[in-house]
């Protein structure tokens, strides 16, 4: 094994490590990461979300990897290139290859007073925490710098309730990205938010108060601006200090010089990300850094990749305003033409830069509405995807962006963060990706800044993927729409629904979906009247069908807690009915091999012993798994079993678009694996953290932190709403993970709906859950207590005492299992028995 040392665990360093790990299948490299910051890599691009309440944990980009030795808070102080070791305060690390991913540092101009207490920079989570802490009780703030960073910082101060000033040396805001007219439009937006803008002004000094804290700024135009806190956002400089001291070549204006393979002047040392100057040029955006990371990962494993050059286009939302610039935004190409569009009423400004023959799109600027950005950016260098005005005017008129995407060349990059082209996405769609989530996991497109997601949807649409919401041939509606129709019109039967809103008599797709909706809207016992005809066989016989036509039985064991007496009953039932028993992943016991006519007898025994249905057969809550928690475990901080039992009893029987799983862990060690569940709860010293949208299965996904340190009451309220909102709005067979991924606005939107009640729905959701909890009854008890209901559990209508003769068992490891023998399934394509008469 060779040693690979990575210096810096920022966005690019992290992506690099992931890229090597995913390609290095033979374990060629042993990786050590030496990181200056005390926390593992996080999403710096979304740094400002911290002030919207997004926790550092949610910004984390870190995926635990035992094979990588990550050393936090251990910066490299020097490189000994002779001996090939990286030196930190704690030791020396030998390398065969070393990758510098040290990023940038904020540039602070040499102004008097720059060291005063109360003057901050804006680069790391630590910076932001310090700003938040210092701002407590302060009234005014100033930001030096009116670029991208400066405006983000200004918004942060605003959110901290400070009256805010922005000082920009250039004559307009965001001089790098937008032109003068765009800057003017932007200024109007910003001033509307009560941020005072001073352009064309340099800061000459920062002055202290008597107590030494900052007091305010003097400007080159003589103005005095009082400020209790100052944030300097005057640009960044590449961190080439360690490389420079080691004698590695650096650029004239800083940055570690590298060639197209990201190699420095030392052929064992590479530089990637913001610290690298590729052919003399540094890039202050994450996408080029990611591209460099991929190049070096490829090279270290014998590949031949080179840096393809970078697209400096950006799209941002600053202070709530969409701003985008792409390609040659400033029109520096010779002979180019501008097409501009300004609408003071809607406050939209847009500019397209075209080649001298007006045929080729070179670049542009959008302020106020950046809907057209993904299409336009991907068209740079090619033909215009439509008439300029139709492209620029707000989407409602003409709605031309769909046509635009069809016209894009296949080589156009749709996702620039991850360098995914239109061809690659179309390829993924042809290989079976039928929704945005699938495209994301298959190509990585749309997983970083997300601005290309609308394009992914359009690509799905133009590829003819059944984007039609129609559930099946019987309904043109999506499940969500049917839910609303049934709820608002008060429809109680499938017949009424299909007669008024559909056609035909339904199928195995729409019938169970409608059955689930009717159940969720509180229509009682799921097998009465017409509803019986809607249920899948599992729901129809309240058990899980197995490959030989027998069923399995799963009694509920809330939280996985069970008394010895009940365990004995399960054992006796299994023995008496000759059932195969297995412990499930959900902490309960599954009894296999029950014939349909045995089900009521088995359940009579179970119900008498105090068991109830476990709904393993339903698209419903399955289990709430738990660890033993504070009752027994020496680490536990809360009673995880008690909560799990309470949650399982609250949500038992709740019918949903898909199965629902949950778990509760008694402390952060997470023994119950709550983060692999649709909703998972982890105890904290102060209460509970709620995670949502996890699942195991085909596409495993960790749940995301949704809210922290909740009281039990707050927790239950959020879960109530989460589940009810899911039940109302998800597609058929869409697990919560896919539901959240597909949701416009994602987790933030979900939080807005169920925490802040942004749709005014919470009362209804709460009421719906209250109705569910109040109306719950055990389906199996209700079944065995009613002879009419028991009647359907027969082998043959005309020979109820004859068991299905095709079912037989053999013994394996001391238990019955389906006998293969003559029941071996026929393979497709072989002649099949008796065609029609």
């Amino acid at each position: 094994m060779k040693n690979l040392v990575v210096v810096g665990n920022g966005m690019v360093g992290q992506r690099f490590v992931e890229a090597v790990r995913s390609r290095d299948t033979t374990g060629e490299w042993r990786i050590t990461v030496l990181a200056e910051e005390g926390r593992p890599a996080y999403d710096r691009v979304r740094l400002s979300a911290f002030f919207d309440g997004v926790s550092p944990e949610e910004l984390s980009l870190h995926t635990p990897d035992d094979e990588v030795d990550l050393r936090l808070g251990e910066p490299v102080v020097s490189l000994d290139r002779e001996r090939r070791v990286a030196v930190t305060g704690a030791g020396e690390y030998p390398y065969d290859a070393l990758v510098l991913a040290t990023g940038s540092y904020p540039f602070v101009p040499p102004i008097d007073g720059r060291d005063l207490s109360g003057v901050f920079v804006y680069r790391t989570l630590d910076d932001l925490e310090a700003i938040r802490d210092f701002a407590k009780g302060k009234r005014t703030g100033a930001v030096i710098g009116g670029g991208l960073l400066g405006l983000e910082a200004a918004n942060a101060l605003r959110l901290l309730d400070l009256s805010t000033h922005v000082i920009e040396f250039a004559p307009r805001l965001m001089p790098v990205q937008v032109d003068e007219a765009g800057g003017a439009m932007l200024r109007r937006y910003v001033e509307d938010l009560d941020v005072k803008v001073h352009t064309g002004a340099a800061t000459t000094a920062i002055r202290p108060r008597n107590d030494g804290d900052v007091h305010g700024l003097t400007l080159s135009n003589g103005e005095w601006i009082q400020a209790d806190i100052v944030v300097v956002a005057a640009g960044v400089r590449p961190r080439d200090d360690v490389a420079r001291a080691a004698g590695i070549a650096v650029g004239d204006r800083g940055g570690i010089l590298v060639d197209g393979t990201c190699q420095t002047s030392d052929d064992r040392i590479f530089a990637i990300g913001e610290c690298a100057a590729v052919d003399g040029l540094c890039y202050g955006l994450v996408a080029p850094g990611y591209a460099m990371a991929e190049v070096v990962a490829d090279r270290l494993l014998g590949g031949q990749a080179t840096f393809p050059g970078a697209d400096l286009s950006t799209k941002l939302k600053l202070l709530g305003v969409d701003v985008a610039s792409f390609g040659d935004a400033h029109g520096t190409t010779e002979g180019c033409l501008d097409v501009t569009f300004t609408d003071p009423a809607t406050r939209v400004y847009a500019k397209l830069v075209l080649s001298d023959d007006a045929q080729t799109l070179l670049g542009g600027v959008l302020v106020g509405d950046a809907t057209a950005y993904p299409t336009l950016r991907a068209s740079v260098g090619g033909a215009l995807p439509g008439p300029p005005l139709a492209l620029l005017a707000p989407e409602s008129e003409g709605g031309g962006t769909g046509a635009g995407i069809a016209a894009l060349p296949g080589s156009a990059q749709v996702c620039s963060c991850n360098a995914v082209t239109k061809d690659q996405i179309i390829g993924a769609i042809h290989e079976g990706c039928t929704d945005v989530g699938a495209i994301k996991s298959c190509t990585r497109a749309g997983t970083s800044c997300g601005s290309c997601v609308p394009m992914l949807k359009q690509l799905l649409a133009v590829s003819g993927v059944q984007m039609s919401k129609a559930l099946c041939e019987h309904f043109d509606h999506s499940r969500q729409e049917l839910f609303e129709i049934i709820r608002v019109r008060g429809i109680r039967t499938f017949s009424q629904l299909v007669a008024e809103h559909g056609r035909g008599r339904g199928c195995d797709i729409c019938k169970p979906a409608v059955a689930s909706i009717l159940a969720a809207l509180g229509s009682g016992y799921i097998l009465d009247g017409e509803q019986a005809a809607l249920q899948d066989t599992n729901d129809h016989f309240l058990a899980n069908i197995q490959k030989d036509g027998t069923y399995s039985v799963v009694p509920r064991i809330p939280g996985g807690e069970i008394t010895p007496e009940k365990l004995i009953v399960i054992g006796e039932v299994a023995r008496d009915f000759n059932l195969y028993t297995k412990i499930t992943g959900g902490q309960r016991i599954d009894l296999f091999g029950a014939r349909v006519e045995q089900l009521p007898q088995i359940w009579r025994r179970l119900v008498d012993a105090g068991f109830e249905s476990g709904h393993a057969y339903g698209k419903a809550l399955r289990t709430v798994k738990s660890c033993v928690g504070s009752t027994w475990c020496r680490y536990g901080v809360q009673d995880s079993v008690g909560l799990a039992v309470a949650l399982e009893l609250r949500y038992r029987g709740l019918r949903a678009p898909h199965k629902l799983k949950s778990a509760v862990s008694g402390c952060a060690r997470e023994c119950a694996e709550a983060r692999s569940k649709d909703f998972g709860v982890i105890a904290t010293d102060n209460g509970w953290n709620l995670y949502v949208g996890g699942n195991g299965g085909f596409r495993p996904r960790h749940a995301d932190l949704f809210a922290s340190d909740l009281s039990t009451e707050e927790l239950v309220r959020l879960i109530d709403r989460f589940l009810m909102f899911y039940i109302r709005t998800a597609d058929r067979l869409q697990r919560t993970a896919a539901w959240i991924e597909a949701m416009e606005g994602g987790l933030d939107h979900l939080r807005a709906v169920i925490v802040d009640d942004s749709l005014g729905l919470c009362d209804e959701l709460d009421a719906a859950m209250a109705q569910h909890v109040g109306a719950y009854e055990d389906e199996w008890r209700a079944t065995i207590e009613d002879p009419e209901r028991v009647r359907r559990f027969t082998s043959f209508v005309n020979a109820p005492d004859t068991p299905d003769p095709s079912i037989s068992f053999e013994v394996e490891r001391g238990q019955p299992v389906p006998a293969l023998g003559e029941r071996r399934p026929v393979t497709l394509g072989l002649p099949t028995m008796g065609a029609r008469q």
Binding site: C507, D536, T537, K547, T794, D804, T832, G834, A835
Partner: protein, 112 residues
């Protein structure tokens, strides 16, 4: 095809023993038959064995329509069969046998 007059009919069960849009299984001369009642009240009978999975489960499938065809979907892997012909509509070449079914004095009768 057998002459209707000389056909052997087996009485199976009362009509109302089959719920609308559901099926029941019956033993007819040692063969397992799945009998269905559709929404309009018609009766259909097909072999109870799912030819793809090899298990005798067809009577427990969901009854519906595809276009004009009355259908049942296998409860195991959801392939859909035309109740009139026994043809599998999802897997060309796969089919189940169909049986004659009639109603006499409110009793369902099957012949092979």
């Amino acid at each position: 095809m057998t002459d209707t007059l000389t056909q052997q009919w087996t009485v199976v069960c009362p009509y109302d023993r089959v719920d609308p849009e559901r099926g029941v299984a019956a033993l007819v001369g040692g063969e397992q038959v799945a009998i269905f009642r559709t929404f309009d009240g018609s009766l259909y009978a097909i072999g109870n064995r799912d030819p793809i999975a090899g298990a005798y489960v067809m009577s427990r499938g969901i009854v519906g329509t595809r276009g004009d065809a009355p259908t049942v979907a296998s409860p195991l892997h959801k392939q859909v069969y035309d109740l009139r012909t026994g043809e599998c509509l999802d897997e060309p070449g796969v089919s189940v046998p169909v049986y004659n079914v009639r109603l006499r004095d409110d009793m369902i009768e099957i012949s092979r």
